[in-house]
């Protein structure tokens, strides 16, 4: 993977695919959570708050990938790790204690409602962060 030198390596090639998908998910999950929290918060507060938290993490990860550099990488690593732990924890919890999740959140059922993209995205993100040399961004 020969990205241009300097701080751009993280956002070229496969990185650009990641940034596009992360940006789209930040937008989609954020908008959906905003609608749900403003119109039907009482029905499933836990699920909707989780969706909002997930949306914010997607947004921060997107910023981390775009900024690059040691700070951006650290941001992206932390966000991807939190996402992976979150989707695994909430996915498992939504199967074991379904009554706590009467409405789906982004991470319920390991992201089933979103084509399992929420499960795949942090794994791809962490693999990409490993594949790019830290010195280059």
């Amino acid at each position: 993977m020969s990205g241009p030198p300097g701080g751009r390596a993280l956002t070229t090639g496969p990185g650009r695919v990641l940034v596009f998908l992360y940006g789209l998910f930040a937008l989609a999950a954020g908008a959906r959570a905003a609608v749900q929290i403003s119109t039907e918060f009482d029905e499933a507060p836990l699920a909707y708050v989780l969706s909002a938290v997930a949306a914010v993490i997607y947004l921060i990860a997107t910023v981390g990938f775009i900024r690059g550099g040691p700070g951006g990488r650290l941001l992206a690593i932390v966000c991807c790790t939190v996402e992976l732990v979150g989707v695994l924890a909430v996915g498992t919890a939504s199967l074991v204690v379904p009554e706590a999740f009467p409405h789906d959140s982004v991470w319920s059922g390991f992201g089933r409602g979103y084509g399992f993209v929420p499960l795949v995205l942090p794994v791809l993100g962490l693999l990409w962060l490993r594949a790019t040399p830290a010195g280059k961004g």
């Binding site: 650009r16 695919v17 989609a28």
Partner: protein, 120 residues
Amino acid sequence: MYAWLTGAIIVASLLVGAWCFVAAGRDAFLDRPHLTGLAVVAGLVLIQTVVAAVRLAGGEKPEEFVTFLGYLATAVLTVPAGVSVAFMEKTRYGSIIAGASAVIVAVLALRLWQLWTPLQ
């Protein structure tokens, strides 16, 4: 919102998306025919939006109205956004981005149909 139009959007976007992924598999960026296909998908979504606007103005109202509008706006913007980002990356990865945007339109078209017809 008509079943045939929704069906046409889903079939067209999945075909065009797969076609973009084939280009990516060949380590190639999109050619003019791919872009034409993506334009057709975007055009069908625009027609769907006009149809939805006319029927909404006629008094029909889908379930979860705000969410419906959100999906509609996202469907209109996804392929133009995907192609724009793809042109910043004129490699196989640009083809993946454009293909992914087409597949997302298929999902959005299905969700819009589900919201329009709760009995489905």
